[in-house]
Symmetry: D2
Subunit: 302 residues, 4 copies
């Protein structure tokens, strides 16, 4: 009699490493118009979403990733009312934003089948966020939305998959796209971008996002968070039109968290400044990153 499941899921990584997750149960497997969707119950991490074979978020620590993506930007802004999510299919980014007293959150994800699968099979992620009356869910290419909207946003959160050759995110990390994002930001507006692995070996994307945002915004800062289920440091980038990106004055952030009535498990005013202290070895990336352009987008190679 078997003691543990004999099913394994293998994440394609690099030639030199092979990583297998033991699968307790298959929850959903399908292919949407845009990508392969696997929702699995893993022995090590619980319920976990993979898109095109790459881990997106896991029950055990999705709060770390999503809090790290959302709250630095939201807390830095003195009064975020209008927020836009680029991507964000699982609904957890939406959930975190709605902890703040916002007026409206637009979430624009190209993959309606993914959003439906997440709502149905991963309801713990949105935790009711899709039913919140402040939520505006739009199934569309986020690029279309950004180029066509006449709305203004205080905070934009880019929660997109890495730009794969055949994937839907290829033109959502380019200088041209960020210029357009800047136009739809309110005067104190800022954007937070999930920026992929911060491993010095694979972190060219992280540096490229920084360099590209630097072409458009004068104030750009990188920060890092360790995510267990990713087994690596994860990079994020904040870019601001006008606000200084600085978390040294903890008092401000204690007050904002208190006055907004926010409950968090990972982000707090103590840890915030430490996330922005990058190790010097990442300097080695500085000459590897490129400015990403529409005509020559960055393509992530599996």
């Amino acid at each position: 009699m078997e003691e543990s499941s004999l099913l394994w899921y293998e994440e394609p990584f690099t030639e030199g490493l092979r990583f297998l997750y033991r699968v307790k149960r298959i929850i959903y497997r399908g292919r949407s118009k845009f990508q392969n969707i696997d929702i699995l119950d893993l022995e090590a991490f619980g319920k976990t979403l993979f898109l095109d074979g790459k881990i997106q978020s896991a029950e055990i620590d999705e709060y770390i990733y999503h809090e790290a993506l959302v709250h630095p930007a939201m807390l830095l802004h003195p009064e975020p009312k209008k927020v836009l999510i680029l991507g964000g299919g699982e609904g957890a980014t939406l959930r975190e934003i709605l902890k703040h007293p916002v007026e409206e959150v637009y979430m624009v994800d190209i993959d309606g089948e993914l959003v439906e699968a997440c709502r149905k099979y991963m309801p713990e992620w949105p935790n009711g966020a899709f039913e919140d009356k402040r939520t505006r869910l739009i199934i569309d290419d986020a690029r279309n939305f950004v180029f066509e909207t006449d709305k203004k946003f205080d905070v934009v959160i880019s929660d997109l998959t890495e730009p794969l050759e055949e994937g839907p995110s290829k033109l959502l990390f380019t200088e041209e796209f960020y210029r357009k994002v800047k136009e739809i930001l309110s005067p104190q507006g800022l954007i937070a971008v999930q920026s992929g692995s911060a491993d010095p070996l694979y972190g060219f994307f992280f540096d490229s996002v920084f360099k590209t945002l630097k072409e458009v915004f004068s104030e750009v800062k990188q920060y890092l968070t360790f995510v267990f289920s990713f087994q690596m440091l994860w990079g994020f980038t904040l870019a601001s039109k006008d606000l200084e990106i600085n978390f040294e004055n903890k008092e401000i952030f204690y007050n904002r968290i208190k006055s907004r009535g926010i409950q968090l498990e990972y982000i707090d005013p103590e840890i915030l400044p430490s996330l922005f202290v990058l190790p010097r070895y990442l300097d080695k990336l500085r000459d590897k990153g490129v400015i990403i352009k529409d005509e020559k987008p960055f393509i992530w190679e599996a």
Copy 2:
């Protein structure tokens, strides 16, 4: 975008070998009262059944296993009318038997949930056999049935899983059990027993089945078939009350196949005698097998 599935199924084998099958699709996974049932669509072998992690039969070559198990016994008997299957959950053994002009086939399998899962998810295996009016399906411990029935059978086919400590087949390979089987055989009756791997390293069970049947029947012969999806030679044992086990006279078997109107893909009168020629290296097993008794049953260790 992934080119092939990232799911793998690992069959527990020996410490020194690890074998992984790429899984295209999960068809069914469950645990019955008796065993873990996995029905998977494998890239290499198509639809495949695993019980307690051990491969049972695969779409690509289940006909080889099932023809080899059923037809030597059925063709040797001049006129098999009443047949009994011990186990046989998938229904393919039943399917093969029904190719002969039998009157009644009793199939006694302890695991009703397994039989139902196979009927529902592997209908190509029985291919309608469960609906044949000659079929008598009984969900019960085959040992109970054999000890209690007052019927007589011309052929008994033992299509059981290997005897695992916690599995349902432990007392269905013992000398005491075979004595009882002999009692319910008609005068020309015989029994065919699937007898596990014929690998000299792991073939102690094959030899033990032979030695045990030899205690009960005077005419006992072993034969071998290679099954691709098992990746090894598979052993079978024939034991007869009275009939000589001899396939040298091909004419007899050509005639029986023709007169019974049987269509086969693997077994034919040419190959039959060759299956009974065992390589000499299996002699090394001769002092490893034991006579299997109720009080000390053979336990297969994974």
Copy 3:
């Protein structure tokens, strides 16, 4: 403390199967001018040779492969005096041939580094055969030798790796090459060819060797042997200029084995005819094989 080695060797097979051998000890790893050579001590099979990642022979059962390759041809010939081996790097084919009272055995292998590594690290394979005074070892392309020699041979044994694109065996399975082999055979001469997997899924090569030899020789027969460490049925092909290929009269072969004083562990007159009974499912290959030509050689794809 680890109980067993944490090193594994993975044999590239098909996309759908992954096979890992636990490695007790690395004996030798190197790259000759022609191929990658790995000699490993495997927990399951003992000392084992891999060329370009493909298993060649293993301590546990190399005798099965080598006896099956050598003795059908050698026993069929009434008095083999001059023998030629194409390839045969390990030296075990040579060892088996020398059991017969031959006068001279030429072994022509292109890869002198391989032969040296085998002599040094796998001395159990040749077991002194390279020191036998009847042995003529030539390091050369077997094609050169066959096209240039003015000697005649009673038996030729083709013990070559499968023809890989970059490997050394590509032009040693072609019709043109076999025509030349036929010219250097004595009147009763014959050739035995190791012909790869006999799996119906991967057996196109086996059928192609048969079809190609059929273009050159009138008497061609295929036979099969199961090799544990290969985990599949293995195909061989015999082709003869004049001798009938028939093992039905066991008396002849009992006598030859006795009069030549040969000790074998696997091949004997009982099993010989059974090896030539091919299962009908291999007929499915009949329209897949091709006649292999110099200008369009068969290339085995990993």
Copy 4:
């Protein structure tokens, strides 16, 4: 022809994850009196040492681990002259310490065979440190040394393997041992302890080391570093007799680094304080750790 090596090394981890490293070359494998030693050249990480199957340090980022272990303690002490290393077999901890103007460094490692293998096969790690005239290498159980020495040390660095049942480190993390360490510290002395994974799932050891040191020292602080080749956050613990553990005043540490003439790649006064900011989710460990005693040592289960 194979494109990349077919050898893999599997690190035993948890039931739910399986991690395989592709091995370019075996540099050394052996078993000392105390542990299994594997020195491998990995495709992903370069030269890498495993003890009893657990990764110890890798060419690609050993500087991160060793700088994080050594320099916080060494920089905090105003004038470290006498230093003791418990364990430290690879010699890289020694190398880092010798960057400071110390007078003597005692390194006490129980496993002389390991030290020799590292010196011979991993000379980049010590980089000449064993030949430094300030080095005193002693092959002995560090417990013996600590209980018997009459010397005093300014800094003790505990660079030991996790305490395995059969391993040599079992009694080197106990309260009784730390009491003895405290006795051999000079008045301003402190100890730095590598404390294993800081993963909330496996981090009970990290918390236990903290709780145990807290029984002995009044000033104890934990800190974290991400190590790529470990693929997780790694925990360290600092305990001090008298000195306050505080890195907020960066000026002090800029000055010490400059005046001591130290070149570092990872540790600097900017990152130092951020390492001591622990994420709140580690609070979940607080009730899992135990005070480790001689009579009930902590045993790490693979």
